[in-house]
Amino acid sequence: MHIRIIILSISILMINKVAATTIGFSQVGSESGWRTSFSESVKAQAQARGIELKFSDAQQKQENQIKAVRSFIAQGVDGIIIAPVVETGWKPVLREAKRARIPVVIVDRNIKVKQQSLFLTRIASDFEEEGEKIANWLMAQTKGECAIAELQGTVGATAAIDRAKGFNRVLAKFPKSKIIRSQTGEFTRSKGKEVMESFLKAEQGGKNICAVWAHNDEMALGAIQAIKEAGLKPGTDILIVSVDGVPDYFKAMAEGEANATVELSPHLGGPSFDAIEAHLAGKKVQKLISTTGDLFTQDTAAAEYQKRRLQ
């Protein structure tokens, strides 16, 4: 009698479990503010959709991630999301997941595997596309005629290299536009300001410069201060474009001191769940889903700033 009740209650519990989708998420760690908001957004999305999320923090170690994925497989989850620490070494564990027929979604950083069938899809922002987007906007604004001062990111960083590549690809189509000054601002506000000060002096007090293209918002914010101190109006005398979409930059745009930015979205949770749910429903999913953010301009900046400040 007792045993029957126990079996019954367990099976009822099991049914409940099966009814809700269970998804395992292996995150790199929490090394930056951006990564923290990425984790938070995944958790919030899971709660909103009624998905049971098994969250695992790998503390920057791949072995922890592989352990976590194996335990997800053993628990028989419906899907696995991995934000990989490194690109290599994923083949064995992905094969195990495939054998268990569990779809795996790779988010943010890339992985290197020969068999593309080992994972369902990869969801990431495309740095080159970000550069292209902002370049297209700038060329449309200036009718393809612009002398640009470039503030590069840290030398050798993927974000810096790829954003420059995308931007220059668009720029090549406009012979009247040119990057006249280029130097690294190391992704920081103070370096961006210092480099911009020198650019202004070297280009007749900034008269020759039509726009500043910064590889991230922080450097652009530094450049804005340098331009203001030189007695010019950032946003009108010299256009400011960059990538990231941090709240301070939206504030600058709302005040008319910056012109445009492309958002680097930390909200990768939604698209990941979409992909897994689509797969479970039997639909086909694209191999690469780009989450390159939207371009924001001064028109919506004030409202966006209010929205972001509250978050």
Binding site: S32, G33, T36, Q152, V155, G156, R181, S182, Q183, T184, E186, T188, R189, S190, K191, K193, E194, V195, E197, S198, F199, K201, A202, Q204, E218, L221, G222, Q225, E229, A230, G231, D248
Partner: protein, 363 residues
């Protein structure tokens, strides 16, 4: 110097006349003096050379205009931008003169910046914020100094602790964010002007004058050098070497606090990750370019400032030159190497010999 030694040895054979002795004595006392003039020539030459290169790159480099109640030009920029490193170098000179080293000054800049920025968003008066900021710097310096002098921990290890931990403390205070503030009075420390010159430049001038008077018009400078040359010997002479060291580190902390406030006021925000990052190395470099001995016992505050100016002029030159950013560090290293070689007497003598040999070869 050499001549005087010859006089002495030659005179030893005969009988030393009073006059010879007096001359030799005078020459010996003068030796240090003539040497110190020589010490100034090479760093100043290097700075002049760098400025000349800038003139070639950009003809308008030396033009200074007066607008909006302040001077405006590349030279002013160099003075302004070199201020944090120059301040750090003043403190670092004192520490290095005692035979120590302070690796934590960059992290102290970040801490002070974070403390000030977080206090500024509350209702505390700016004056109080500045006092608290400076006290924080001095406290950090005293911690370093106490570890070095009372617990006899190697300076490089003792200050490494705060270098690593300090940035973490700053991040904790800022909770991982860049804390920005709107306060015109505090911002004036970084972007304000007085008598046409940027405020940071005045801060450096004031600090330099204060420290120079302190170490050269009192016996303190002598004490510092004595402790740097030989700490135990100076202790037997009655100098409290622990207090001297503690003072040097506290001064370094105070200077770092001022540099941190300049950096924070400059961008009107505290960036714990990047404020003062690697600046301790630039400060040490400035002191070394200024001809101070890393083993202690010899220092010059003015030369350290010239060292800081050389570093900043170089940075500006690289930006203006338009060379790809990936060459920055390489160029910096090569120029610094040349400056240091120019200062080395041995290297100069070898060059002279080489020239002489090649000249003989021509004949």
């Amino acid at each position: 110097m050499k001549d005087s030694i010859q006089t002495v040895s030659a005179g030893a054979d005969h009988k030393l006349s009073e006059q010879d002795l007096a001359e030799a004595k005078a020459a010996r006392y003068q030796a240090g003096k003539s040497n110190s003039v020589g010490r100034y020539i090479w760093p100043v030459c290097a700075l002049a050379l760098l400025l000349a290169v800038n003139l070639l790159l950009d003809a308008s480099f030396f033009s200074i205009s007066y607008q909006d109640g302040r001077f405006y030009g590349s030279l002013i920029d160099i003075l302004n931008r070199s201020a944090p490193v120059a301040l750090l170098a003043i403190g670092m000179s004192l520490v290095i003169a005692t035979g120590g080293i302070d690796l934590s000054v960059g992290a102290v800049m970040a801490i002070v910046g974070a403390v000030c920025a977080n206090l500024l968003i509350t209702d505390i008066s700016v004056f109080a914020v500045i006092i608290i900021g400076l006290s924080t710097g001095i406290l950090a310096g005293v911690i370093n100094g106490a570890l070095v002098s009372y617990l006899s921990i190697q300076p490089i290890v003792a200050t490494l602790l705060l270098m690593v931990a300090g940035r973490g403390v700053a991040q904790l205070i800022n909770q991982g964010q860049i804390v920005t503030f709107q306060n015109d009075t505090f911002s004036a420390i970084g972007v304000g002007n007085w008598l046409g010159l940027p405020m940071p430049v005045w801060l450096v001038i004031a600090t330099l004058l204060f420290c120079q008077l302190l170490v050269r018009r009192t016996a303190l400078g002598l004490f510092i050098e004595a402790v740097g040359c030989n700490a135990s010997a100076s202790r037997y002479m009655g100098i409290n070497d622990r207090h001297v060291k503690l003072f040097a580190y506290a001064m370094a902390g105070l200077c770092a606090a001022m540099a941190g406030m300049i950096a924070t006021a400059d961008i009107q925000g505290s960036d714990a990750n990047n404020a003062g990052l690697w600046l301790e190395l630039d400060a040490i470099l400035a002191v070394v370019i200024g001809g101070a001995a890393l083993t202690g016992g010899r220092f010059s505050l003015a030369l350290s400032i010239i060292g800081a100016l050389i570093i900043q002029t170089l940075a500006t030159t690289i930006i203006v030159s338009g060379l790809p950013a990936k060459f920055n560090l390489l160029i910096k290293a090569i120029v610094i190497l040349v400056v240091l070689l120019l200062q080395s007497e041995k290297f100069r003598n070898q060059c002279k010999q080489l020239l002489r040999i090649s000249a003989r070869g021509d004949v």
